[in-house]
Structures are given as C-alpha cells and as structure tokens.
C-alpha cells in the first residue's frame, strides 16, 4: 500500500477530491462576495442566508410544484437575484453615504431575519433532497468511489466561476463595472446608469450564492443554519484572497478547500480552524491578501 506521509494514498487522494468539492462552494461564494464588495464596498453578511435560500428554493420547487433539479438550478438563482434587487433597492441603498460598517450590520440583521423565519417554519433538522436521476450513482476511480454528483459540483462551479471572471475581466460590461468601482461619478458622467449597475451587480452576486445553494441541496442537509456555518469560513477565504479580486477569490476558494481536505487527513481536529490559521498568517505577511490590492 503506497503511503504519503504515512497516510494511505487512497485516503489522501480521496480527501483531496472531497476538498476540491468543498473548495468549489468556497469559490462560488467568495466570488459572489468579492463581486459585491468590489463594486458596492459592502460586506454582504447575508450571503450565507441567500445561499440557504437558494437551497430551500430548490426543495420548495420540488415539493410544492414538482419542478425538478435542473429547472431549479436555473430558476432559483433568478429568484434569489430578484430578492437581492429588493434588498438593494429598499434597504442597502440608504446606507451608501454612511460608514460601510452599517452595510455589514444591515446584512447581518437580514441574515438573522431570514434564518429565523425559515427556522420557524421548517425547523432545524433539515429537509431531504435527492440527487437528480442523471447524476446518481458513483464512479470507481480506483482510489475511491466518487459519487457522480460531486464531480458535477466541481465542474459546474468551475465553469460558472470562469464565466464570471471572463465577463468581468474581458467584456465591455465588465469593463464598465470595473470603471464604476474606480470612479462612479465619472462613469455616470459618461451616461452609464451607475445605480442600476450597482443594483444588478448585487443581484448577480447573490444569484451566485443561490446557485451554490441549489448545488448543495442534494449533498448537505437543507437547513436554515447551513449558511451561517459556511459564511464565516468564506469571509476568511475572501480576506486571504484579497477583497475585490475576482481571480483571487476563485483560486483561494479552491485552494483552501483542498488544504482543508488534507488537514482532515493529517490533523482532523484542526480542520475547522486551518482556514483561520492561514488567514492569520497571510494577514501578518501580506495584509492586503494574496491577490489583493491595498484599497
């Protein structure tokens, strides 16, 4: 039996792959956060709750309307995005002139509201959601049996992340977005509707969270608390990657997922804290984050 650092190769590769799966979630979520922070300068604490909302929508679509996974995969992000528009237009907008801390506090309050409401209606034990037919079963990769669905999660996340990166960095729309970040007044002077751009950006960011939620539905328990368990780790990921950096968020998300997976093999007790330890180290050495620019 081949061993790496005393751990059987099988276990090592297996955890690596599982880490990649988790990393995909980190990547999509921190991407959404990074996009929102880049343009709005708002830390969207509600990101976790909106991810949870996406997962619940998938379940509700199935249970109440018989809509299958694929439909919800497209529909849920749209609904979450619309909800995001409501939040931005009616709540967040008022706070832009103030200290950015208030945006964080507002979204924190929204998180509590959403989690409380869902918890009150559905309890905490969670709802079951089965894997879609097409993705059931598992493939024997030799060193482990990987459920097909998890492979799909990695593929879907990477594709979505790359698409987002492409749009923001390589298209005109993205250029407008980035310009709006640098100098909103000037961009507005050019006739671009900056407030609309901001609203849509927020909607897009949270739609990403909703998408991640639907992806997570078959794997994790769909519970009102699923977002809050994740959001703090995602924050750490964003701090490590450097806020406002799109590529940084993606790479850091995937990378940290893998590192966390490996930690589970060598030092399981530390697996939940390793991301924060890395964050502390990065802060000491490179306060702006690995890919970030000092703002």
């Amino acid at each position: 039996m081949i061993t790496i650092f005393g751990i059987p190769l099988q276990a090592f590769l297996g955890q690596l792959l599982l880490g990649l799966v988790n990393g995909s979630f980190y990547a999509i979520l921190s991407l959404g956060l990074a996009v929102i922070f880049g343009l709005l300068n708002v830390i969207n604490f509600a990101h976790g709750a909106l991810y949870m909302f996406g997962a619940f929508l998938a379940w509700m679509g199935m249970s109440y309307f018989g809509l299958n996974y694929w439909v919800m995969l497209a529909l849920a992000p749209v609904i979450v995005g619309l909800f995001g528009i409501l939040i931005e237009k009616f709540l967040l907008k008022h706070l832009y002139k103030l200290d950015h801390l208030y945006g964080l506090l507002l979204t924190f309050g929204i998180t509590l509201l959403m989690e409380g409401l869902f918890r009150s209606f559905y309890g905490v034990s969670g709802q079951p959601y089965s894997t879609p037919e097409a993705l059931r079963g598992a493939t024997n990769l030799g060193f482990m049996v990987l459920p097909n669905y998890r492979a799909w999660v990695v593929v879907a996340s990477v594709v979505v992340c790359l698409l987002t990166w492409f749009v923001i960095e390589r298209t005109r729309l993205g250029a407008l977005l980035r310009a709006g970040t640098e100098n909103p007044k000037l961009v507005e002077a050019f006739g671009v509707n900056v407030p609309l751009m901001i609203t849509l950006t927020y909607a897009f960011g949270v739609a990403l969270a909703g998408f991640a939620g639907v992806l997570a539905a078959p794997i994790l328990q769909i519970s009102p608390l699923m977002g809050s368990n994740l959001i703090v780790v995602v924050f750490a990921v964003v701090v490590i990657g450097g806020m406002g950096s799109i590529l940084g968020a993606i790479v850091t998300g995937l990378g940290l997922g893998v590192i966390e997976g490996l930690t589970k093999v060598f030092w399981p007790e530390a697996s939940s804290t390793v991301v924060f330890i890395i964050m502390a180290i990065v802060l000491l050495l490179r306060p702006a984050g690995l890919f970030g620019k000092e703002k």
Partner: protein
Amino acid sequence: MNRQALGYVLFAVFLAAIPMLGIYPIFAMKIMCYALFACAFNLLLGFTGLLSFGHAAFLGSAAYASGHAIKVWGFSPELGILYGVAIAGLLGVVMGALAIRRSGIYFAMITMALSQMVYFFFLQAKFTGGEDGLQGVPRGTLFGLIDLKSDLNLYYLVMTIFVLGYFIIWRTVHSPFGQVLKAIRENEPRAISLGYDVERFKLLAFVLSALLAGLAGSTKMLIFVSATLSDATWQMSGLVILMTLIGGLGTLVGPVLGAFIVVLLENKVGDFGAAVAKLTGVEWFQRLGESVTIVIGLIFVICVLAFRRGVVGEVNAWLEKRKAVSTQA
C-alpha cells in the same frame, strides 16, 4: 455634574434594592453582565470607532477559563474571576495585534474570523466539554467569607462588579486617553498628524475592552455555574452589537439600556407571541416565541436604517433640540 452624580447614586440605590422589590435576582444579574459586556464593547465601537465582530471570544474564553480554574484547580471565586479576566486580556492582545493591522470593514472581518477560530478551539478542546459545556462549577465562598451559593449574596457581588466595570469605563472615557480615542474615531489621519501613536492607542482600547468583556464573562459563569459554547458564538457577538446599537452608540448609558431591552425581549417574545396567537387565532404566532432570532433580526434592520442613534442617542438629540428651541424662544 452634580445632577449626573445624583442620577447615578439613585440608580445604584435602585440596583441595591432590586432583591427587595421581588424581582428575580438571576434575571437582574444576567442583565448586569450583559450590560457590562455591551459597555465594554461600546468602548471600542462607540468611543474608538472600531467594530469588533468577535467580542464573544472574550466573553467565552473568560467564562471557560474561570470555570475551569474554579472547578478543576479549586480556585476561589475571586481568583477564578481574575484568572478569567487575565485570559481574556491575553486573547485581546493577540487578536488586537492581528486585527489592528487593518481598519474599518477589514478589521471587523478579521475579528470575526479570529473569534470563530477561538470558537472551534473551544468546540474541540477536552476541558470545555464541547457541546455539553462546562457544568456544575461550584460557586464557592468569596474571600473565604461570603457563601455565594445564596443568590442574594451573589447578587451583591455581581452588582459591585458591574458598578466597578462601569466606573472604569466612565473614567476612561473622561480621561485624556479617552479624548485621544474619540479623536481617533472622528478623524484618524488628523490624530496621526498630531503625533499620536494611533496603533498603540487602538490596541490599548482593544485590550481594555477585552478585559472588561472577560469580566462580564467570568461573572456570568458564576451566575449560571456553567460555561458553554453559546458564549463564544458569532451570534453572541452580533447580540452585543445589537444591544449597543439599540441603546445608543457612543453614549455611556446606552449599552446598559440596550442590554436590558434585548434580554427582556428574549424573555418576553414567547409570551408576546402567545398573546398575539390567541388574539388573531393564527397558530404561527405561537412559534414566533421560539424564534427570538426573527425579532432580533427585524430590530437590527430597523435600527440600522432608521434608528442609528439608539434609544439614548435619540433621547439626547431630542433633549438637545428642545433646549435649542427653548433658548431660541
């Protein structure tokens, strides 16, 4: 100044009389602990302008540390509390040193992440008992003389601690050190240009806040003779922010009132929900009681949007306006 002193004396008398008024002492003690916690937090946010999203780490670490010291090492309560405070302070130095490197939102996120690390440590560590918590800590005898098993005796100890903690904060705010903190909050670049070592002041404020939050934690541990994970969660950090926000940022009395409102809320939402359920016949309101989170979230949102000065802040502003109007007329 005299009117203020009179006000405080009256309040202290009221506090001392609480057990006689038939009010459940444990409830009053709980409020005082949270009030001290909120005041400590306000020192950092309201007076220095630093939003820490991880203050629960200090509450929890002090609770666990003093609980462990008293239960396992046989410390007496006063030494146990001091030990808890010291641990919180140490944690404050470490967390502060790391977090102060950045400011504003980044500072908040770093404190949140660091305190999450502390939470996970407590989750895993053997001595905390994980999900079960540290239970059955003996209250012991204070200075070998006063038996703290009696809720009444404990009440006076907690009251003294609260008054002491509040006084420390009051004194800090009204000192030259406090003035520098306010200057940093108002305009940091200017404070730097005036020659102040801003980083050092921020760190000092952070550690002081951590120490006092730790004091609140150790005291709370004695009341409930236990230390559990909920003391160190981010929800607890959020709760203390809410208390300060509702009460009034940057005021001295605000956090005390805020703590009172929030604890009362937690206790009463259940009854309120049941009453509304009976009134409207809508069964769901019954469950509202079980979800204090919804109400807290709603209040948070409303406060941030429309009520940023908090109760005391609004009252002060209203009184100022009244005075301005009356002097105009």
